[in-house]
Subunit: 347 residues, 4 copies
């Protein structure tokens, strides 16, 4: 890290900064400058904490970290890309992952119909919520374990893998019993007890959704919580960030795909349903997700979106979904052809 | 709610909207308009869900709710203001609440010194984190139950009430055993299992912090989760929202105080430490909090901020805190004088 | 527009709202409701103003517009799509527009080299700033008319059309004398005197960049200023909005492309250089722009980006640009194949 | 500035960075580090440009400026505070400035009534728009010079000073002929030709409003444009920034007051009318503005807000304004008592 002192900082102030640096497990490497002193330090201490503290020491003007605060998820510790295996399928490898299904599991009939549509389109992953985080306490909260059972039945009937959300530490084992991929929702991106539990208690693949206001750095630190606690099978999912624009439910941060591809070896998928909240906007964004080099997409489908128990506005009908899956085939061909190159991140 | 159809919407489309409205437990009250049809509906259904669904029905242009989605926390169900009793003290009543203490409980010596400083300044609430939500897994995570014990000891020694964070459902009973006010942190504002557990399992007063990207409506819905599950003793805390401005850690949304005073009967306090991240900015914002009509403030203090284990940059020294508490006395006098009027919210 | 009254609003309050509605050139069409009265009104008045006023009238709870505040740029007044002709080329029609060139015109040698690179790649539009809006007064401000002359010379030498910025009313005629497309920069998206002048004084095609914090509605209203003053040749350019994310210079709002395609008949292009600020991120976003259905892209190139007088970090080298133009050819083929369908906006 | 190289950067890359640094008018002061090289440089070049360029040079990981990019507006070049004299009144000195008046000048009767109310309350500044920047081309655009004449007449009749907006370079002399303080609106905060013209063509005091998405650094650079072009009489006005929160028109960034007081010697006022858009929220925010240490406030008043031609929802009635002015007197007493201390900014 680099600490710059205010012009006219005294020697006593500089000495104090150096003492604090050492107390926090860093070594001072150089002290430079005439009118404005700049101190460089390296070490194994907690750099985010140290910068915060040092900024408040008298005589200090600014402090900046040099190395990133995450480690295990960083390109710098693993040069290849992580391919997350989910049974016989994978995300991050040679196949573009398509995850589709209803927002919520509602009935056996509904989830079986969805599974049939997913399998029919050639996708391999069935999504569906059994535990639903809802903004209002008066909205439908999910079928809970009953929903997980229906999901498993439907997935097994059609040879699909399940992606479903776990909302709390006490349910990790239960959900992992039924699911193939554990989803951590956007609202839980900084639910650290949950991240730790999923890191330490299971090796089940995890799809971590970016929070509405999580920076890319914070998003990677949340992934780091999972990996450093023992579970390396993390898929990152950008699902729209909160901005001033109200024409769409959120703003899809498509920049995040190439940025993450430069910073991390973990696979990255996009969720255009939550990023827009509007069914008609999804097909063009699925095409964009492929073209920008994402590893997959997640979309919502429903046999009768106008009667969906949640998120109907952003759920595609089966026909729309099938049409979209057809339309993207030539884009997927280009994606596959470009795959070796995408894997080599530019210097 | 009001649903407006696109110009040229067909009768079949209008009929379909009316059917959907009824299916979702609303009654159509009127259908109006020549070139552009507008449908009004009332009822007890889930209005947020219904608007979402109806916006996706063919022929619909827009849908807007009329009544707020929260109920129990709303001014419309309770005309007076809620005063949250905390032992012999209270928040929301005649006294301006000052909550002060370190970011984290570190050692017995540290928390005892803080408690002495808090009591010496005339404040009644001691804060201190035993379970710490930290962005990085490599940062200090709190002393856990040991921290709670130290906190209780310090509070008891100086006749103070404790405000401390609970991060997960499994810890609610444990933290409530030691604490006087349970804090729900900004990152957990939409941790719905936690909100439900705190609503149903305890009557212990709760301080709910606004999330970095929670709208005021979402913030109130999170409070509604607690109240509707059985615990009416909720204090709201605005602590800065995430914006593009990087000169401060967050942007204090001071507008939220008069807005919340118009919408809800719950008390509202401000946290200028997390809203700025910078010690020197806190005293003027404490004055502003009093003048704008907040019910209290929360600040961080530390015997030696440069050696704090967390949040040192925004922690005041004991001298700064004592000086600030002195300086605000004439403002508090005006606050008390204006109290009867503040209680009457303008039409 | 729809005005909803608070529960318990008096008849006098309702009458007063109706009077105000009529004073502002609207007609009341219906007054509905028992516990909560809802008033619908139509007319030719200024709806944004009227809603603002009515929200402040005693007894009113909320007011919402139904029709969009823009007219001429709306799909509702023109069903086909606008194709902006620029000499023998066009934007919005059958060809994907590629605008490339340096951030600033620096020297004859530089701009001639850029023009050669642009023409060599098959693109038809040369960009380059002669008047530069710079955040700091101490940064290079552009060569002014001398820059325009160099730009014209370079464009003519290679058969290209010029896109260049005009910053102030007093320069419109001068810039229009040299340019083929007048660029209105992001900072001037609400410089209304400039919008009016460009609307009334010239028919020269205009590329209007979205402001960093302009909503899509405001962006369209700014376009409306130009069109309603007499110049229908407007190209919209999304170039990144300002959000909390600091990993990139701005956040590309790619959602805006399909949203604008539903709302307006004007062509829409993307500027991934300003939206990211980072050269390495541009190629994947150019691919995404094509796939999402934009009408073109604008990128920055420079013979020696590290020595560019402005925006070097986001300027591609000629080699990178040529490589990118090669790589996108199969995507452009899909774009052209999908063009008839893209033109039909979903209901 | 400090440039940090990636781990493993080659000597050739380091040499190249040093060459670029020198080409941009900086001197390399030190090159440090073993696994990760850090280069410090000082000089008189354009630091914002240099950082931008260097970040794109191969082998560079990051670059950070150390000194602020603005100079003349900085505390570092002028230790005392700027008091802007406006005739016999001032802003930034011993008196808290209150600027009040209608959004737009509408009629002689209206502006005379407003002036009487302003003078009657003890305020010294009359605001009123004659040139109005309106989001929609179909909204009222102002009375232009006729409005300026009415404003002058009203101000002279009641011994007030005028604050009014100038929107374009061609009108600077005309508006300055009538006005005592030239307002630069939020939408023009980066209209650099206008800033330069107001800097070079007049010494008339200027009130510069912060843009909706201007960072504090950008805001100060815009002020720098005016000062470095010759006009040192700049008053800064924070008027709300654009965030995700939609309960209010904008979010008042009250943090900006103490932050600006640490960075600049220029006076800072707040505009709670535009920051909230809602009349009932203004009185508490005026109190907060005083308590936080602002140099003044600007508010909107109207004889009949429901019939205002613009901004009626945020305009106070004369009664509300008079009541607010009464209520703030004890706060103003505290403000005056604290003035000497406020003038000394904390280290």
């Amino acid at each position: 890290m680099i600490i710059s002192m205010k012009p006219g900082a005294t020697q006593a102030q500089i000495d104090r900064v150096c003492t604090r640096i050492q107390e926090m497990d860093f070594q001072v490497r150089s002290i430079q400058g005439d009118e404005r002193v700049v101190i460089a330090a390296v070490g194994l201490g907690d750099v985010m904490h140290a910068i915060g503290v040092l900024r408040s020491v008298e005589g200090v003007e600014n402090g900046v970290p040099i190395s990133a605060p995450y480690k295990l998820v960083s390109k710098q510790v693993k040069s290849g890309r992580t391919v997350v295996q989910v049974g016989g399928a994978s995300v991050g490898g040679d196949a573009f992952g398509v995850i589709a299904g209803p927002c919520s599991v509602e009935t056996e009939e509904q989830i079986m119909a969805c599974a049939a549509a997913v399998a029919g389109s050639g996708a391999q992953f069935l999504r569906g919520g059994a535990y639903k985080p809802r903004t209002s306490p008066y909205s439908f909260q999910g079928l809970e374990e009953e929903g997980l059972k229906l999901l498993r039945k439907a997935a097994d009937a059609y040879g699909l893998y399940i992606v479903t959300e776990v909302m709390t530490v006490t349910n990790v084992q239960l959900v992992a019993h039924y699911a193939d991929v554990l989803q951590i929702g956007a609202r839980n991106v900084q639910n650290f007890p949950l991240l730790k539990a999923i890191g330490s208690a299971t090796k089940c693949p995890v799809m971590l959704k970016r929070g509405q206001s999580a920076t890319i750095k914070e998003f990677l630190l949340s992934a780091e919580y999972i990996v450093t606690n023992g579970n390396p099978n993390v898929i990152l999912c950008e699902r729209g960030i909160r901005t001033f624009e109200s024409a769409t439910r959120n703003t899809l941060d498509i920049n995040a795909v190439p940025v993450l591809n430069e910073l991390t070896h973990l696979p990255v998928i996009l969720d255009p349903a939550h990023a827009t909240g509007q069914r008609s906007l999804i097909p063009p964004l699925v095409r964009a997700a492929i073209a920008v080099g994402a590893d997959g997409v997640m979309v919502e489908i429903h046999p009768d979106p106008e009667r969906a128990w949640s998120d109907g506005a952003q759920s595609m009908t089966f026909d729309q979904f099938a049409k979209t899956m057809d339309e993207i085939q030539p884009y997927l061909q280009l994606w596959r052809a470009g795959r070796p190159e995408l894997a080599c991140v530019p210097a």
